[in-house]
């Protein structure tokens, strides 16, 4: 009898698909349910950020940085303004530094909450997503209180901030942190240590440390693979060297180091660490004027800089080239998700269709940042 011929099935996921986290398109080659290959197609949200930068002045770029990683806008601002300040050699007031850290860490919590919630949806648990959004809403309230915007803030300016903290901010923040600790515990009970959740995520999409480094992965993806690397600790910028916190790495107490569960758990633990940083920052917060160092005219000297910060997704790098005019000559953004997404085909091969979704969720990508 002649052997039965079989063919691979090509499944097209996205750009509209409930769990591609935006407008990512995946071309999945399948043998039954087993994944032979995954080819990500990006660019469905290419908004020409880098072209805009060349046409705008330095301060005008800030709102566009907001719109790159729209889940972590504060951090996008943070990286950009610090880079320009370095380029111009501006010394900013102490209070500004502390407020930036507080905002940055709050944003990290908010971003991780979305990552965790949507990961829950990918696995099939809908309720944790809403719990995460409930907590995130309180962080957004804090931001709104400060600068009036919920999602895209344009809060950090070159040399300072747009507004000082309102008087009620610190007490509200304290009460949020108090409640949030409890909610993390609830989240752990509901999702992190759920038997089905563990079955679905542990030992799935294992990413060895050396592969992660070679592929340029950073942030929770790299730390999930057990590499103790956090720019806040290892290459401190701003005032992160003044705080006492722990770098969370995947320990592999459930599953293997580098699997989806460990990547997920790194985020949960990082939220706790962020709370710690914020608490320390509140205690040390000095008085002062937040707008005093804002330059009248932003015109950096000829030169270039590659400045990187640890955004919630990983290493966010700004490569800014200045030709001495008020417009940046070139701004290239090293977006963490852009690099992290490359790993998806590597960790998905040989697993099942459902595992692609789990892997993608555990990478926590944002398309705005990938396509820019």
């Amino acid at each position: 009898m002649a052997e039965l011929k079989t063919d691979h099935l090509v499944l097209n996921m996205g750009p509209q698909h409930p769990s591609t986290h935006g407008v990512l398109r995946l071309e999945v080659v399948l043998d039954g349910e087993v994944v032979i290959d995954v080819i990500p197609h990006i660019g469905y949200l290419h908004r020409c950020f880098e072209k805009h930068c060349e046409a705008m002045t330095y301060p005008m770029v800030i709102p566009y940085t907001d719109r790159m990683d729209y889940l972590a806008s504060m951090y996008m601002n943070f990286g950009y303004v610090e880079a320009v300040e370095k380029l111009m050699n501006i010394e900013i007031p102490e209070r500004v530094k502390y407020i930036r850290v507080i905002m940055g860490e709050l944003q990290r919590i908010a971003s991780h909450l979305v990552a965790i919630g949507t990961f829950g949806i990918d696995i099939g648990a809908f309720t944790p997503f809403l719990y995460c959004f409930r907590d995130r809403e309180r962080i957004l309230d804090l931001f709104e209180m400060t600068c009036g915007a919920r999602l895209l803030y344009n809060y950090m300016w070159i040399g300072g901030l747009s507004h000082d903290l309102p008087p009620m901010f610190i007490p509200e923040l304290k009460s949020f942190l108090k409640d949030f600790r409890k909610n993390i515990k609830e989240l752990n009970d509901l999702l992190s240590y759920n038997k089905i959740f563990i079955e679905r995520t542990a030992n799935i999409g294992i990413l060895p440390a050396d592969t992660a480094i070679n592929y340029g992965c950073t942030g929770p993806v790299l730390r999930g693979s057990g590499v103790n690397w956090d720019l806040r600790k290892n290459d401190p910028y701003s005032i992160y060297d003044r705080f006492d916190f722990e770098v969370c790495v995947g320990k592999g107490e459930i599953g293997t180091v580098g699997d989806c569960w460990n990547r997920y758990m790194v985020r949960v633990r990082e939220m706790e660490q962020s709370c710690l940083i914020i608490e320390q920052a509140i205690e040390q917060l000095p008085e002062g004027d937040v707008t005093s160092a804002i330059p009248k005219r932003v015109k950096p000297p000829v030169g270039e800089i590659y400045f990187r910060v640890e955004s919630p997704k990983g290493e966010l790098g700004y490569h800014i080239i200045s030709d001495g005019t008020v417009n940046p000559f070139r701004v290239k953004v090293r977006a963490p998700s852009f690099v992290n997404l490359q790993i998806l085909p590597v960790i998905s091969k040989g697993y099942l269709v459902a595992d692609i979704i789990a892997n993608l969720g555990s990478l926590d990508i944002v398309l705005g940042e990938i396509d820019r």
């Binding site: 949200l45 908004r47 809403l130 959004f133 895209l152 396509d371």
Partner: protein, 163 residues
């Protein structure tokens, strides 16, 4: 007729004209397509989440365009994506509605000038019923947009010719 009309609008009787009933059914159960593009999609998700709760108005997300009534274009539409959106729109069954959420979807938003790859307004590709301004619109604004759409549906008619 006039007396009866008043009777129906003012008192809480459920029996009403056929048109009104059908319109009422459509406006009360606008199933939304799970479809987000960019920043506004996050606000759209926030609108569906606990704090604002889209479900109150009968809006539930459906992953398949075949079962959806409204598509909320939430975010920047790029040229690469525009054709896909058009196809998605065509896959939806009539009657279907479009909410253009945020300034990017409405007119290109901040990307209107130098955005070589951005479509300047989704209305160049598919017809839009309600525009919601903002960058991004707050969830309240999206809810307002939904109420406006409901108002629009309420005045539609199966029988009468639309002008």
């Amino acid at each position: 007729m006039g007396i009866l009309d008043k009777e129906f609008t003012e008192s809480n009787i459920i029996i009403t004209k056929f048109d009104d009933l059908m319109n009422w059914a459509r406006l009360s159960s606008l199933w939304q397509m799970t479809f987000g593009l960019a920043c506004c999609a996050i606000e759209m998700m926030a609108t569906s989440a606990s704090h604002y709760d889209f479900d109150r108005f009968g809006v539930i997300p459906r992953p398949s365009p075949r079962q959806a009534d409204i598509i909320i274009i939430s975010g920047t539409v790029t040229l690469k994506m525009a054709l896909r959106i058009k196809r998605l729109y065509e896959q939806m069954p009539e009657p279907k509605y479009v909410i253009s959420m945020g300034s990017c979807a409405t007119c290109g938003g901040p990307y209107w000038n130098h955005g070589y790859h951005v479509l300047k307004g989704i209305d160049r590709v598919i017809p839009v019923d309600v525009y919601v301004p903002g960058c991004p619109p707050r969830p309240e604004a999206l809810l307002e947009g939904l109420l406006k759409l409901q108002e629009k549906i309420r005045n539609e008619s199966h029988v009468k010719k639309q002008v």
